[in-house]
């Protein structure tokens, strides 16, 4: 948190001074102040704040419009509303405008710092998860694939998922719930699915139902293992997996979720395996 760049949006010289003193005393860097929408645009263009404190009543504009302006520039900037007014309507509006926290004036130094720490911690935790999750899921797949099939799996390529995904035959999805929710999906060509399941069962599967049951368990083990590994890295994730579901059909497309997911293609002796995984920022 030390050195976090902050912009103060307020039209009162007194409030700006109070906020600036508290922030600087606690090691944050106030990189600019603004009292109008124009000044805010100007300061956002010149500085790259990570955090903005926002007053509600401003000449010619208001805290909600200014918050939208901040998020237009960069939606990862955290906005904390610091306002003398606070009612249900403002709180509801704040939620809609993705304001991270709300404090009432006169602001208490300790409360402000506690709120900032909380807001930044959640963001940092998400960044850490973003940096870590893919390797963990890949490792969980390699390890468990080997344990279940005695066969090695190697990765061929990985890329951000940008378009709808057409199921290649059988798809298994596991929802993930916790501090950040997400999902992991495994996609198999029908032939790949059957030969993989045959290897795991050490016999030919009796029917499609059995194939799906085994693949759901396969997905469950990988997802469960990966989430446990992540939880061991930081128990604040609190990740849990929902029961997997399997699906197949004709021309089945899976929509792009509203968060970034990564596709990883693995090469195996049964054919290609696709794993798609991603997590959503909690307050999106």
């Amino acid at each position: 948190m030390h050195g976090t760049k902050v912009v103060i949006v307020d039209d009162s010289f007194f409030s700006i001074t109070v906020l600036k003193d508290i922030l600087e005393e606690n090691g944050l860097e106030v990189v600019g102040t603004a009292g109008t929408l124009e000044e805010l645009k100007d300061v956002l263009a010149k500085t790259k704040p990570e955090l903005v404190t926002m007053d509600m009543t401003l000449p010619g504009t208001d805290g909600m419009e200014c918050t939208r302006e901040v998020h237009k520039v960069d939606k990862t900037i955290k906005v904390i509303m610091v306002s003398s007014m606070m009612d249900d309507e403002i709180v509801e509006e704040s939620r809609k405008n993705k304001i991270a926290a709300f404090l009432q004036k006169p602001v208490d130094a300790e409360e402000l710092m506690k709120t900032i720490r909380k807001v930044l911690a959640s963001d940092e935790l998400y960044q850490t998860l973003q940096a870590d999750y893919l390797e963990v899921f890949k490792q969980a797949q390699v390890d468990n694939f080997k344990r279940l099939t005695k066969v090695e799996l190697s990765y061929k390529k990985e890329f951000k998922s940008e378009a709808e995904h057409e199921s290649q035959g059988i798809t298994v999805v596991v929802g993930i719930i916790g501090k950040f929710s997400g999902r992991v999906l495994f996609d198999f060509k029908q032939e790949t699915a059957y030969s993989l399941v045959e290897k795991m069962l050490k016999k030919e599967p009796t029917d499609k139902e059995e194939v799906l049951a085994v693949l759901r368990e396969f997905a469950n083990i990988i997802a469960g293992n990966a989430c446990s590994m992540l939880n061991r890295k930081n128990k604040a994730y609190g990740l849990r997996v929902a029961p997997p579901f399997g699906l197949y059909g004709e021309n089945v497309f899976l929509a792009v979720p509203e968060f970034k997911t990564m596709n990883v293609i693995a090469e195996t002796e049964f054919g290609e395996l696709l794993m798609n995984v991603g997590f959503k920022r909690g307050d999106d």
Binding site: I177, R216, P243, F245, L247, V252, P257, E258
Partner: protein, 156 residues
């Protein structure tokens, strides 16, 4: 299996749909699904963990999904089920399940929900580990939604 577990969903439809420009919510047929669920058009699945574990599978046909998305987007005409209507329908099922989760917590069952997975296609078979699901039709302004509630702990 507790048939009353459909009530939180009826409640959530009754709460959420009028906020989005719909008038009438009616409970339709209730049945028990012993096999996989087969849907045509749009299927949305939301995972559940907590006091009960499972999945909720929503299904409606493509034309009706576009009609609903259009009403949700203030009457914007929709001719293709692309990213915009997909996002509207995903958000709708997220709201419906979150509201149902609140209703469940009011009867002492605390659950958390995952982000929705939306798919579309023909003859989509969805299989889960729960061997039984409650399937209820909820009709919103003549548009039928199928809501399948598959909770694992019901089997014990």
């Amino acid at each position: 299996m507790n048939v009353e577990y459909v009530n939180p969903f009826i409640e959530s439809f009754t709460t959420v749909m009028p906020q989005l420009g719909f008038q009438n919510v009616k409970k339709g047929k209730l049945s028990i699904l012993n096999k996989e669920f087969v849907g045509n058009g749009v299927v949305i699945i939301v995972g559940i963990v907590g006091a009960v574990k499972g999945n909720v599978v929503y299904s409606l046909d493509l034309e009706n999904a576009m009609k609903i998305a259009s009403i949700m987007m203030m009457g914007m005409p929709i001719s293709e089920f692309d990213e915009m209507p997909q996002s509207a329908i995903s958000e709708l099922t997220n709201m419906l399940t979150a509201n149902a989760a609140t209703a469940f917590s009011n009867i002492g069952i605390d659950i958390d929900i995952s982000t929705p997975t939306l798919l579309h296609g023909k003859n989509i078979s969805v299989t889960m580990s729960a061997s039984k699901a409650l399937s209820v039709e909820i009709v919103v302004d003549e548009i039928p939604f199928i809501v399948n509630i598959a909770f694992e702990s019901w089997e014990r």
